[in-house]
């Protein structure tokens, strides 16, 4: 039965996915099992993204389906069972920049690959990254930026982490015009071309 749900999600049939979720609940399937089926579906979609079969629309729609389903499940669930995480990561689009599509994909893929992601959103000032790293104890920061105007805020964020004494925190950067030149310019530890690179870099640091 939960295979039906997985098929609906991976087949991008939004309405079916929600209807099947409700059917499953009505027939007494435990919310945790439904959630696990969703996770399995997300992994399939993540793999397809990695192999270039799926693109932004599928990730967005999958995200929408996930949040609609968890809205249904949450009231019926006790505390979500804690799963082993690979590590904590703070992610955000840097100050002055509001491009969030790519950052959302990077967060999604990191989360799918076992990281606990704190997503600070867009237009995030350096001090907010510092604060979040201190609060979460994350050892990895991912900075996204699409504007040439993002180069300096990235550099400032790297510097702010250093001057806050967070010298063991590693920073990766990415987005539109960002490349190895900008990694050098900002003093970040790594540059990633896409969300798959973000995962690989994070895994190598975890």
């Amino acid at each position: 039965m939960s295979q039906k749900l997985i098929d609906a999600i991976t087949g991008m049939r939004e309405e079916d996915a929600l209807a099947i979720t409700n059917e499953l609940l009505d027939s007494g399937v435990a919310p945790v099992d439904i959630l696990n089926a969703c996770k399995e579906a997300m992994e399939v979609i993540g793999k397809r993204f990695e192999s270039g079969e799926s693109f932004i629309p599928e990730l967005m729609l999958a995200g929408e389906m996930m949040s609609a389903i968890s809205d249904v499940l949450k009231p019926r669930m006790a505390e979500e069972a804690a799963t082993e995480k690979l590590g904590k990561i703070v992610v955000g689009t840097v100050q002055g920049d509001i491009h969030d599509i790519a950052k959302d994909i990077v967060s999604f893929m990191l989360d799918l690959n076992g990281f606990e992601v704190t997503d600070l959103g867009v237009d995030v000032p350096p001090a907010k990254f510092v604060e979040a790293v201190k609060q979460t104890g994350a050892r990895i920061v991912g900075l996204s930026g699409f504007l040439t105007l993002a180069f300096d805020p990235m550099k400032e964020t790297v510097a702010a982490l250093k001057s806050a004494g967070l010298t063991d925190v590693k920073v990766m950067i990415g987005g539109g015009q960002i490349d190895e030149n900008i990694r050098q310019y900002t003093g970040a530890d790594a540059y990633g071309k896409d969300a798959m690179a973000a995962v690989a870099i994070a895994k190598s640091w975890a």
């Binding site: 629309p57 509001i98 180069f151 015009q177 030149n181 050098q184």
Partner: protein
């Protein structure tokens, strides 16, 4: 103004293209000096050969798409000035052309800050308004067409724009929603429906505001027109472009938002396709009209949501490409070249572009693999790009030069190549910009 020759109806697309390019090339200019005239002729002749894909002495370097902000910023001009103080840009712009002697002029975009203030324009924020003074303009995305309104748009794009979209995009234009449904104005009494809004105070107030905004716009156009006239007079031709987008991007950028339109591919694919179709005749008519009015031989597409990362090849070929191709083919029939500014990477789409007829396109790349571009497209189309903004901002002079030299070498045997940036940048140095421009000369 482009005047069609009498035998227009009997001309082939390439003959029409030639007629438009002739008119652009021969447009009268009052030159500042005989030297300026000689330089202009040399430049526009080379540019014409590039448009024609005919042998010429060297590639050209076009700094417009990359350096247009830097040209003003290097003289201390702020973002705010580009929106409010257009006169202030004149000296820096003239000085740049005199110092750098570019192959094509670097145009100045006439952002009408005061008109935007008067109309309370929502789609952007700008320097001196909600952005800090050092920044120019930034788009703010929103949903300006609800999903249930697709049917209104499809039935009548122009009416939708006039009565639903404009009132949302500019607060001061709210009363436009009172306008009559024009095709129903027919019988004697229908004049009443036509005129009623014009008699009502809020509508009249709007008209006054629009006239004031129009007056402010004329000042901007006057200032910018004068500056660009002086640049031309000193010997620098422009590429001759009118701006356009693809049907999918108009819907995605302006009406539905990025997320909205990408979800629509799943949630309401038929509406989305019908809306793209509805756009085609509107765009063709509008660009042909603009090309006639301005005597510009090409239409500049800024391309957003069809890039590799945004959708699969199958989705591209279903939602993005067909109606865009229809527009480009219709323009080609009218002798208008499509200049594609291809943002992001287009590695998967090169074969689609190759379907277009010879000389119908200028393809200007950002992150696309230029080696594949050469292989797939360079014998049919004019190629431009793709010096990275990162290099211009944070690279060294030698790195810029090496990157450009590589491009010149790569395209050496091809019919027409334009050295250009992949994306604009705010900051670089004069030395790096010179390295970019000199790379085509020696």
């Amino acid at each position: 103004m482009f005047v069609r020759p009498d035998n227009w109806n009997k001309m082939s697309p390439l003959e029409r293209r030639k007629a438009r390019l002739d008119a652009w090339q021969d447009a009268p200019v009052q030159f500042a000096s005989p030297e300026a005239e000689a330089n202009y002729k040399e430049r526009i002749t080379r540019l014409r050969k590039i448009y024609d894909m005919q042998p010429h002495d060297r590639p050209i370097a076009d700094p417009f798409m990359g350096a247009n902000e830097y040209v003003a910023r290097r003289k201390g001009i702020q973002g705010k000035d580009m929106v409010y103080n257009h006169e202030k840009l004149r000296e820096p712009l003239l000085e740049f052309h005199r110092d750098f002697q570019p192959d094509v002029s670097v145009g100045m975009l006439p952002y009408p800050g005061k008109s935007w203030d008067l109309l309370d324009f929502k789609l952007y924020v700008w320097g001196g308004q909600k952005l800090p003074d050092n920044l120019v303009i930034q788009a703010v995305e929103g949903e300006y067409m609800r999903p249930d309104e697709y049917k209104d748009f499809i039935a009548d794009p122009t009416a939708f724009w006039l009565k639903q979209y404009l009132p949302r995009a500019y607060s001061a234009l709210g009363p436009l929603s009172m306008l009559a449904d024009f095709p129903r104005i027919s019988e004697s009494v229908d004049t009443i429906d036509l005129l009623v809004p014009f008699g009502l105070p809020p509508f009249q107030e709007m008209l006054r505001t629009m006239m004031e905004a129009g007056n402010e716009l004329m000042k901007v156009l006057g200032a910018v027109g004068q500056t660009m006239g002086m640049v031309t007079a000193e010997g620098f031709p422009g590429m001759g472009l009118n701006i356009v987008k693809t049907p999918f991007d108009y819907l995605g950028d302006t009406l539905r938002g990025t997320k909205g339109i990408l979800m629509d591919m799943y949630r309401r694919p038929n509406d989305l396709l019908a809306a793209c179709e509805a756009y085609v005749p509107v765009l063709v008519k509008s660009i042909v009209g603009a090309s006639d009015r301005t005597n510009a031989p090409a239409a500049l597409y800024v391309l957003h949501k069809g890039a590799d990362a945004f959708m699969s090849q199958e989705q591209f070929e279903k939602f993005y490409w067909p109606t865009w191709k229809q527009v480009m083919l219709a323009l080609y029939e009218e002798g208008i070249t499509s200049y594609l500014f291809i943002e992001g990477s287009y590695n998967n789409r090169l074969e689609n572009l190759a379907e277009m007829p010879e000389k119908s396109l200028v393809c200007h790349f950002d992150k696309t693999d230029m080696r594949r571009v050469k292989e797939v497209l360079s014998d049919k189309f004019i190629i431009a790009g793709n010096v990275p903004a990162s290099l211009m901002s944070a690279g060294s002079v030698d790195e810029v030069r090496a990157y450009c030299d590589d491009l010149v070498g790569l395209f050496a045997g091809t019919p027409a190549y334009i050295m250009a940036h992949g994306c604009y940048f705010e900051n670089t140095t004069d030395e790096k910009l010179r390295a970019f421009m000199d790379s085509v000369k020696n």
